[in-house]
Amino acid sequence: MAKIDLTPAFLIHRRAFKDTSLLLDFFTQEHGKIRLVGRGSRKSKAPIQMFQHIKISFSGKSDLKSLNDVEVDDQPRSLQGEALILGMYANELIARLLQDQDPYFELFEIYKQFINQLPKLGKQASYWALRLFENSLLSELGYGLDFEHDVNGDEIDTRIECKYEYQSQVGFTKRSIGKISGNTIQLMLAEDVLNTPNVEQLKVCRDLNRARLHPLLGNKPLQSRLLFWSKN
């Protein structure tokens, strides 16, 4: 790969590099996650914004390729408050879990949708959108779960009193002491944020996805969780 012209991308992380440059991590449509050096980027008057659909050109043969050009292909989008933190969290998931320079076409579209709807959603709905994004990410990485059947192949009983337990990387087992109701498992099949679960169900889904992500993240927890202030 010598020279790539105007490929669709999102900036997902940046940090200072030498005096005037930046190390930029992008999630691109055709080349997946890639790290580029933005030479002189720290002095730029119109710095590249995160959460904005852009097109980038880059080149170089070495491990560290250089960013040559950026075109904005989106309306301005300023994520604020909680939405911004959720966006940062999604970015860290991508930075941590995706293989370098491996394309994930579908996930790119899903991320784009997620970012697009984030500023328009209320608090609960935005958390739900993040859970659904996690579901897509896990599926793309080959860790999708069967939300319709339990580990024995029986259909999930979607009555609220029917409880299940999540067995790491295997699936759901019916157990009276389980914390996840069949009803909540069914919710995870959702493809859009139209029907937001209630607060209790959202918590169960959060814990479930945290358990699913845990083996992939290893001993290093997601750092963006620290962006949520909490009184300790």
Binding site: L84, M88, L226
Partner: protein
Amino acid sequence: MIESLNKAFCALPGVGKKTAQRFVYHLLERNREGGMNLAKALVDAMEHVKHCSSCRTLSEKDICNICANNNRTNTQLCVVETPTDIHAIEQSHIYKGKYFVLSGYLSPIDGIGASELGLDELEQKLHQQDIEEIILATNATIEGEVTAHYISNMAKQFEVRITRIAHGIPIGGELEYADINTIAHALSGRKDYDL
């Protein structure tokens, strides 16, 4: 000796080997006195400048001049990323409150969390002092915004007005030359027009 001086100059931002060499020859050949002054001033500053124990800015004294100034109100606290930001705000002569310096922004991915920014000290301050307003003057970058959001959540537990400095079109600037993000920000942060 020349070589080690060369290397030493490279510690300055923006100074590479070539520039360092120019500095060295200039001082040795043309301005020994300037060089001596530089050396002395450097040693003095490196040995004696520390951080103000109240606002964390750079200071020769335990409490910096701004914090020690009784003519400034203690009820307003302006949170900035760097000591240079204080300098910039001070030049406008419009602000008469006190400051708090973070020395950076929140970036847990890079290992910079709340404690590195002294946010527990800030929380203590809000708890112990009679602060009526906290002004979040972190940069208009994603990182600055994330930091402002975190601090505002922390400050909510106290009875304090939380404000964020406005960002927008430069004074004397024309709309058509501003980038779209600035225009969008300026529009969403518009305020009532007082006649």
